[in-house]
Amino acid sequence: MRSSGVLPYRSEVAPLPKLRQTGTLSDRIASVVIQGSAFLAILSLILIFIFIGKEALPVLTSSEVQKEASLSRLFLPQHARAGEAAEFDWQPISDTPKYSLLPLFIGTLKVTVIAVSIAIPLAVAAALYTSEFAPSWARETIKPCIEILAGIPSVVVGFFCLMVIASWLQGAFGWTYRLNALTAGIGLSLAVIPIVYTVSEDAFSSVPQAFREGSIAMGASSWQTASRVVLPAAMPGVLAACVLGFGRAIGETMIVLMASGNAPVTSWSPVDSIRTFSATIAAELGELVQGSPHYHVLFFIGAFLFILTFLINLMGRWCVGRLQKKLQGAA
């Protein structure tokens, strides 16, 4: 039972005849256009890197920009006024703009960890159920549900979080800040669940049926088979699911922008308001002078997000590749 999905397709197409029929003009034009389009996919990724990097670079090179926002100002504590204790502050709009990234980093980390630790157990368990235990009618219910969840635009999830979940939670717990890391994290987990579910369900169903049959034949129960045979065999795929879910959570913008309170506070409490990297870009890019240090700092954050998610995705794909190799050797 090898399903498609994460596993790249092994073509069953016989090798094309060597003799290449590229005689006609339309053939040659089509060939150039099609190859050009494929290169455009690679090119666009490179262009993203170049053009975000270009606007981010002044943070490292321009002395004009560095007066306000150099690396040390971004990463080290700064004295707001002479005589006061050094602090980490994100206050880009003030007499002496402060661009410490630490509050944003803590905010991003808090909300991502909350979202992922809600989403991963739920989604992986649901995927395990769908692939191992579920009768077909249950499978036919849960799969469309996940598709629906994946199809809800993130601004709608953000709206729901802001209008409904935040009020429920505040009513139940009476927190000081209505919009906080926990509220945003719950909303964010809704965006993470579909991807974790899909990738890990693919991994579970790509485990060869012979593994299960062998396990059952040895007298294992269905739970023992699922937890000690299928789960370990599919582990790289589950890991990939977690990694990709993490990447999704870090980059998601609208949900955290709407439901996190957007206060750049340096605190570890999950019920304080937070501000994330992505939300900072979304909230501030619209209302600033193009070419100002603030502008370049936002692109610097964007470049950081881009590289981070890029590496996370590579890692996720690598895990999927591992799974594929592992199961190929075993089957």
Binding site: L45, I52, A125, G151, L162, M163, W223, F310, N313
Partner: protein, 306 residues
């Protein structure tokens, strides 16, 4: 002793298995609650007037017609850009390039990574590349430096969105190409067709369903995504409709964001806000549902073909 241990294992196994079923139940419940809540609160204000009028009195009265029109214009422009590009990329990977070539792997890697780039980064790219570089360049070259394209515009939003939805189209098209039996291609070749004739008259017509699926999924994604259009063309509130490529426009998702975070009077805006969300949700669901139906048919064909 042993039977006791066995019974306990069986019991724990049953409980843990029940927990996984419970996880499914939670997810289903969450989806039901979200949809139910929005439908319940959104139905009230939904009317023909709401769909056909521009907003008035700080979004509390009137409707959302400009946002619907803007979203439609955006996704049409986006589709025009993304379908040829995405289909050509998929055709290259599946029909043109030598099997397992390094280049195909590179293209596939690029597509996969493009799919993982956060939407807000696409927004930044739209500003940095399309507006600042291409737009300003066009202005200098064609308009003598006056500001026409070097500012947020619907065309830049559409192109940014096209880039964001490119992986969706490529993946769906590739799946459809895979479903076409090899002997179709062989027969075409044996009749003396060139490669392009084979692709344009045999492969592409057969893959039409998959391409349609990809297009619909892309439209669904594009009509709900906000972060990429925030700075590249979407306007807070705009009386005119976008009729030229360099106009700004109103978008449903952005309108939801604006209404829920910057409304003058939150309580008074709430009914209109809920209805806007309902419209957006119905739009994306309808599109997704259609795409899923078509895809199910293709998958069936794929299974039967093998």
């Amino acid at each position: 002793m042993r039977s006791h241990w066995l019974a306990r294992t069986k019991y724990t196994g049953g409980v843990l298995q029940g927990l996984t079923a419970f996880a499914c139940l939670i997810i289903i419940a969450i989806v039901a609650i979200i949809i139910g809540n929005i439908v319940l609160h959104g139905m009230g204000k939904l009317s023909w007037e709401f769909l056909s009028q521009p907003p008035r009195d700080h979004f509390t009265k009137g409707g959302i017609f400009p946002a619907i029109f803007g979203t439609a214009a955006l996704v049409i422009l986006m589709t025009v850009a993304v379908i040829p590009l995405g289909v050509a990329t998929a055709v290259y990977m599946h029909e043109y390039a030598p099997k397992r070539s390094r280049l195909v792997n590179l293209v596939r890697l690029a597509i996969q990574n493009l799919a993982g780039v956060p939407a807000i980064v696409f927004g930044l790219f739209g500003v940095g590349f399309f507006i600042e570089f291409v737009g300003r360049g066009l202005d200098r070259g064609l308009y003598g430096g006056s500001l026409v394209y070097g500012q947020p515009a619907i065309i830049w939003s559409a192109l940014t969105m096209a880039l964001l939805t490119l992986p969706t189209v490529v993946v769906a098209t590739e799946e459809a190409l895979r479903a076409i039996p090899t002997n179709y291609r062989e027969v075409a070749y044996s009749l003396g067709a060139t490669r392009w004739q084979m692709i344009s008259r045999v492969v592409l017509p057969q893959a039409a369903g998959g391409i349609l699926t990809g297009g619909i999924l892309a439209v669904s994604r594009g009509s709900g995504e906000v972060a990429p259009v925030m700075f590249t063309g979407a306007a807070y509130s705009l009386p005119e409709l976008p009729v030229r490529l360099h106009n700004q426009f109103m978008e449903l998702g952005y309108h939801v964001y604006v209404m829920s975070t910057q409304a003058f009077d939150v309580e008074a805006t709430k009914p209109a806000l809920y209805s806007t969300v309902l419209v957006l949700l119905m739009l994306t669901f309808l599109l997704n549902f259609t795409a899923i139906m078509i895809r199910a048919r293709i998958r069936k064909k794929l299974r039967n073909g093998r």
